[in-house]
Symmetry: C2
Subunit: 419 residues, 2 copies
């Protein structure tokens, strides 16, 4: 726990506090409106008078939590083509529940009978291996808490005007789960790797024919053939019964509904390797196969759609992640980027996992602009939007990792701004 | 990663291997039946020919995963009284998905309107504070991955004969989640603590009137007023909208559907303090308020109800936890406890969280008895069943943490044995 008493702003300007105890001192009772001296304990809640509901084989969220859903933005002209967004602004902690993990489908969710399913591994020459699900369950398993982020996440921020939408509807094509599966390296070594094998071509069972090419070094390093997501079998929309999980690399290569893996001396140059998820640079050349997701952070609370009802103490909260390693620091600004203070990072801070940051914040009722910027253990710092556009140009569609800014106005309303 | 090549048994006895690579060397293709030279890649799956299913606001498990449910053992004569068990034998990793977290209700699940709910904190004298859910959301939050275990988990193992049931149906009143909430210490300090305050009395909104007494030192140490479970709002059956999470302490004190917290110089001596969750010792005296759950482990795979279909390589997998700290080691035996080898522990090994252990295992077709025993960082080692009964006597109903043994017979069937 980092405890700091440094005072960053003059007494009458916006304050971002880093001392947890100051929350109590400042917030006190009056500001929070929580204190009621001599409240009677006599009132008995109605729930004491009647037996509650029974047991369930598989539980569901409370009926009163209807806001906490994936927001679907799909193309009605193309069945099963689109995305659904994790409602990051309604969530806390670092784990995304399976029912709310983002979806990106190119032609819907295939229905796969796990008893019929098998994974084909094509080595060089004539040699192929086929693994049933029961086979894979006998292999050594590994678990890792990892983020997966779509290469297209946050892409409205490339637009000239800031889109007014909730944090999860702008940035919610990222989720974090505990994935458990067989190390891909074990299967490839069993198949046999020759010195000519430089790439792995992975394809999927869905109707869009997702096929991607992955460098063999990454495949032998840390890729999983995942069978479990947060403890239970993969969800259908997340690749049931088996998917690749490629730590830190863009969503598309985390191939769902895995069908086959083929060793190759060259990449396939499929449409997913070449057309989609590539970035047209200023010089007219498209950057391709930019697998590793950049260091990034967003403030989830307060954020667009939430309302500050009174002045006083709040906590600024958000998520940070990097495809290159762990999050080293997240800094927050309440004045549009002029002054920055370090946020608390929730331990344990894990490699290529969502990292929760938080910092007490006193809102004095003035307009101000909240921003977060993350730095990873590889030394990369999240760029400002201007820096990102200056480096990449204005024709990019994917891989936005610039700083996002929320403006708080004097009424406590929050809007998305470019600052 | 611990890599060992030590050979523990003569060549013709049961072998527990600790070298991951040996899995490949031993398992090879023949044993797993996975190798099919020259398999054709030509067959196109039916799912390539039609668009898949669409998006969903809140996802659900695959229809083919019907086995992965909570097993309900409730008393039909008393509505809402009973338990449902986490299917540990169907799960992997360390996170329990929210829909499968075990339930223990004494009079059902109350239906609580979060807008009407508030938490009353009664300090000494006349002073009381009331917190709405919106108030609590403004306080600093903390997240921790923690196990919660019912004091009655595994209690059939006190019986003279081993009950034949799946691992989750014997031991599944334990689950692990990421809990996020406000530190209880912050609320108590705000209420004001006097030197007379030695206990906190916590009560619930459910119809059974759960009320427990907790020592003030624990309350000021690490207890959370939890609002989120694996990222989303608490599930109704797990205390929505707010519950206590008391790291490492028995389930009953992790009060769900929290109603009030009252500081006191003495414990209340409620029925949950005195009658339930107490252990009648050999001398006729009941041990009460034995809050901290003992060090424990169970093998989840292979386990009762699963079938070894062929000889060859498998992985022995299970979970370990301790209310006193981190898991230091888990040892496995394949010969009923004569020889032990250390299992691999899945990193990160977290304080008072479920810890996954695994070890490759070669089954040669002979009958053998699998056991696991855990040791925690406080130095406590999980006792054998005989040691536990010798220490505690035969009249105990709760707090079973002895070693559990699974016998594998020559047909690959698995049964629960006392060994």
């Amino acid at each position: 726990m980092i405890m700091q008493n440094k005072r960053l702003y003059p007494a009458k300007t916006a304050q971002m506090r880093t001392d947890r105890r100051s929350f109590l001192q400042l917030g006190g009772l009056g500001l929070l409106g929580a204190g009621v001296a001599g409240v009677s304990d006599a009132a008995e809640p109605p729930s004491w008078s009647e037996a509650g509901g029974g047991f369930s084989n598989y539980g569901q969220p409370a009926d009163t939590e209807q806001r906490t859903i994936r927001w679907i933005s799909a193309n009605p002209a193309v069945p099963g083509e689109g995305v659904s967004w994790t409602p990051l602004h309604e969530l806390e902690g670092t784990i995304t529940p399976n029912g709310l993990h983002f979806e990106r489908h190119h032609n819907g969710v295939p229905s796969i009978d796990p008893d019929e399913w098998s994974l084909l591994v094509n080595a060089s020459g004539e040699r192929s291996l086929r693994y049933s699900l029961a086979d894979l369950h006998r292999y050594p398993l590994q678990s890792r808490i990892l983020f997966i982020e779509c290469g297209g996440n946050s892409n409205t921020l490339w637009k000239p005007q800031p889109v007014q939408a909730a944090a999860g509807h702008l940035h919610g094509l990222v989720s974090g789960c505990e994935w458990t599966g067989v190390a891909l390296s074990v299967l490839l070594q069993e198949a046999g790797i020759s010195t000519q094998d430089k790439w792995l071509i992975a394809d999927a069972m869905d109707a869009s024919g997702v096929t991607v090419s992955l460098p063999i070094a990454k495949c032998l390093d840390d890729v999983l053939v995942a069978l479990y997501q947060n403890g239970e079998a993969l969800r259908p929309e997340n690749g049931y019964p088996a998917r690749l999980v490629v730590p830190g690399w863009e969503g598309i290569v985390n191939v769902k509904w895995l069908r086959s893996l083929s060793l190759s001396d060259v990449p396939l140059m499929s449409r997913f390797d070449t057309v989609s998820y590539t970035d047209l640079q200023k010089d007219g050349i498209a950057e391709r196969m930019t697998f590793e997701m950049g260091v990034k952070s967003i403030i989830t609370s307060p954020s667009v759609g939430q309302q500050l009802t009174t002045t006083g103490d709040y906590e600024v909260r958000g998520l940070a992640w990097s495809g290159a390693g762990r999050i080293q620091t997240v800094e927050l600004s309440a004045d549009g980027g002029r002054n920055w203070v370090p946020a608390h990072l929730q331990e344990p801070v894990l490699d290529r996992a969502l990292t929760r940051f938080r910092l007490p914040w006193h809102w004095d009722g003035r307009a101000q602009v909240l921003m977060s910027r993350a730095t990873d253990t590889a030394g990369a710092r999240q760029p400002s939007r201007d820096e990102l556009i200056s480096a990449k140009g204005g024709n990019v569609y994917y891989h936005y990792n610039g700083i996002c800014a929320w403006a708080v106005d004097v009424d406590g309303d929050i809007s998305h701004v470019y600052a």
